[in-house]
């Protein structure tokens, strides 16, 4: 069988239903094979977007996402997408074409050493040098990407191998002696954790993206209710517990609520689950939870003790560990602590000015009100933080955002991926005008494939988050953050692509526009919300400060 046909057949055996990509010379054989396949290929308009779409697909569905690109520039364009998936532990498999083996190393046309380039940003990568290893490698990639701590795997396949005749013999099982993720938590450590929990007077659960990756949301809620303890999430952990749950305090960190940050600072026990204690979450590490002992549950042993000292580490899959842990603890009312938290919650709510001007927070509240089940993706910056603050996530995988790498331009293609995974649902990309421009070409993909993603632009004609920092910390010296594009008409751009565009300038028009947009099921919709330009994200922990040094403003 031709190598290319074997690749496509192997993908079918892996259950791949969607591939996001762009063809090119070095991968043309594979695209030729794809022509006869049942797999749906979504022709994206930029390889970076193809990888983000595969990533969004994976985050929304829990299935491994797949992206294709050709050699050279096609391959190098995938790098930001791969890095984004790597930082947020998203399982994707990326296939890149490579020049024929005889030309590798000769600086051939469209040759790039993509395995060398992506080594630090992939969980693993391969350059196929022997046709006989092709199928085993594909099986390995689909094994490595979603298991353990998930992540991107790249396979670089020289063109001559895709054209070579190989025997189709797809391995069912593979044995990687260097890769044996530990899933079961150590019983002794779980017991020690239970003892700490029973002793604690002021426990807090800190739930990260790992809870979602491990499908452990039900177990998390059970644990929280059994202790009982309030739950703060990281940005990546949003949705691990319904944000409407009385024990949920929303997300913590640089733009988390005051009450979540205070609770995490004042607690005497942190039960951290599937989080890597990123700097945006912990604030200044030295003043992170200063009175607390720390239990850290994570499948990646290297995360334990990396950023924060840990008293009881438990390495393994969160779901099983939470189940075991919940079994051996008993309910113990801690009224004083719970009252304190609720007092903070009442005293320091998330808020914004309601003065008749169009503010982004209001728009996001309206999206939640009208379509609470919609999948939300975000770009990066102020739009992302407002979305995280004001969209109450109800279920896991509902809120999709580039947390670790902070990739502007992620939200829109990720929304395309999520929409392909769930064609019946609504998918909204909460965007800024700066971010949306970074992958705006994907409007063409949406029109082409009738993907009805809604792009909601919080248009302030600024690179807003950087502008906010300049306002607060750089004496209002707005260096290169004003986008000066007041005249730019996003609704016309959308129409130019064949989509639908709307402009909204007043709060009174928000609801109608959103309702109208949610009715549209066959083309992308861009709503250009002309928001209050100087609106800032509050509260805020200044970079390098402790979580309790969070600043707010009067409204």
């Amino acid at each position: 069988m031709r190598g290319a046909d074997a690749i496509v057949k192997a993908f079918e055996e892996e259950g791949v239903k969607h591939i996001f990509g762009i063809p090119g010379g070095a991968i043309i054989e594979v695209y030729d094979a794809l022509y006869d396949s049942q797999i749906t290929h979504i022709l994206m308009r930029h390889e970076q977007a193809a990888v983000h779409a595969a990533d969004g697909y994976a985050r929304a569905s829990g299935e491994t996402g797949v992206a294709f690109a050709t050699s050279g520039p096609g391959a190098t364009n995938t790098v930001t997408g791969i890095s984004t998936a790597y930082m947020d532990s998203s399982p994707i498999v990326v296939i890149t074409g490579q020049v024929p083996r005889t030309l590798i190393g000769n600086d051939a046309f469209q040759e790039a050493d993509i395995t060398g380039i992506t080594m630090p940003v992939t969980k693993h990568n391969y350059l196929i040098t022997d046709p006989s290893s092709l199928l085993t490698t594909i099986r390995e990639a689909f094994h490595i990407a979603p298991t353990g701590r998930p992540g991107p795997v790249l396979i670089d396949i020289p063109k001559d191998i895709t054209a070579a005749d190989i025997e189709y013999n797809y391995p069912k099982r593979i044995d990687l002696r260097g890769y044996k993720p530990k899933t079961k938590g150590h019983p002794k450590q779980i017991k020690r954790a239970a003892e700490l929990i029973m002793k604690a007077e002021r426990p807090i659960i800190m739930a990260g993206g790992g809870v979602i990756l491990s499908n452990a949301s039900a177990e998390l809620v059970k644990l929280a209710e059994t202790i009982p303890a309030h739950v703060v999430t990281t940005l990546m952990g949003k949705g691990s517990i319904p944000e409407t749950h009385p024990l949920c305090l929303g997300f913590v960190g640089m733009h988390g609520s005051k009450y979540a940050n205070y609770a995490l600072t004042e607690c005497d026990l942190v039960i951290a689950i599937g989080t890597r204690f990123s700097d945006r979450t912990t604030g200044k590490v030295e003043s992170f939870a200063p009175y607390a002992k720390v239990i850290h549950i994570d499948i990646d042993a290297a995360e334990i003790g990396k950023n924060v000292r840990v008293d009881v580490p438990i390495v393994g899959d969160a779901r099983g560990i939470l189940k075991e842990l919940t079994k051996i603890i008993e309910y113990k009312q801690r009224k004083e602590w719970s009252d304190r938290i609720e007092k903070w919650r009442k005293k320091y709510p998330l808020k914004y000015k309601k003065d008749g001007k169009l503010r982004p927070q209001y728009i996001i509240e309206k999206i939640y009100e009208i379509e609470p089940d919609t999948i939300v993706t975000t770009e990066v910056g102020q739009n992302q933080m407002w979305a995280a603050q004001f969209f109450k996530t109800k279920y896991p995988r509902q809120f999709i955002s580039s947390g670790g790498l902070g990739t502007m331009g992620f939200g829109f293609p990720a929304a395309i991926g999520a929409q392909m995974a769930f064609p019946e649902r609504n998918v909204v990309d909460i965007a800024g005008d700066g971010s949306f421009l970074m992958n705006i070409q994907e409007l063409a993909t949406c029109v082409d494939f009738k993907i009805p993603v809604k792009i909601v632009i919080m248009n302030n004609q600024f690179l807003g988050m950087v502008r906010q920092w300049q306002e607060l910390f750089y004496n209002e010296r707005y260096s290169a953050t004003c986008l000066r594009c007041k005249e730019m008409r996003f609704e016309k751009i959308a129409e130019g692509f064949g989509g639908i565009g709307m402009v909204v300038e007043r709060p009174s028009e928000v609801e109608e526009a959103l309702k109208e947009a949610f009715e549209i099921r066959d083309v992308p919709v861009v709503i250009d919300f002309r928001v209050e330009r100087l609106e800032n994200v509050y509260p805020m922990v200044p970079a390098g400060a402790g979580l309790n040094q969070i600043i707010d403003r009067e409204v």
Binding site: T115, M119, L127, I144, L176, G178, A301, A302
Partner: protein
């Protein structure tokens, strides 16, 4: 042996890896990216053809070295990582080209003999000495040779193996 070196410690880590192209690059890339400091790295095949053994000497505190080991363990091509700092035999091989003339040659050869090293090449103006041993011995010998003028020096980097029945196995 845990030498105290400017407030930092030295650790010897033994790493069994798949004997495949690119594995050394993965390990080197990891050290660079995570900002770990390698003092030496040696690599060679083992009793099994498909497994190579690296011995990496790392400078750092315990926390850093734990991170190094955990991060190494995450590489798919890494089969086993062991700290072999304690209770181990450590050896390094060094070739030293020392300036020598008829007056100094005798003294150099005598010193070489005391250190149980071997003269492997002689010319009118120089000698090549091959010495193996642990770090202290080698450093002491190199220091002695300085007075004669070291023209060239090549070190293999350290290999290490734990004493007794303990085995680093895949």
């Amino acid at each position: 042996m845990r030498n105290n070196n400017a407030g930092k410690n030295k650790y010897s880590i033994s790493v069994l890896v798949e004997n495949k192209p690119g594995v050394l690059a993965r390990v080197a890339s990891l050290f660079r990216r995570r900002n770990f400091n390698i003092e030496s790295l040696t690599v060679g095949t083992t009793e099994k053809d498909d497994i190579s053994r690296m011995t990496i000497v790392v400078n750092g505190d315990l926390k850093t070295v734990e991170q190094v080991m955990k991060q190494l363990n995450k590489l798919i091509d890494v089969i086993k990582v062991s700290d072999v700092t304690e209770m181990s035999v450590e050896r390094e091989l060094v070739l030293i080209k020392v300036a020598a003339n008829s007056e100094t040659r005798g003294e150099i050869v005598e010193l070489a003999n005391i250190f149980r090293s071997r003269v492997v090449d002689v010319s009118k103006t120089s000698l090549i000495i091959e010495i193996t041993g642990d770090e202290d011995k080698i450093n002491a010998f190199i220091n002695l040779m300085r007075q004669f003028g070291i023209k060239e020096l090549a070190r293999t980097g350290k290999v290490a193996m734990q004493r007794g029945e303990k085995v680093v196995k895949a």
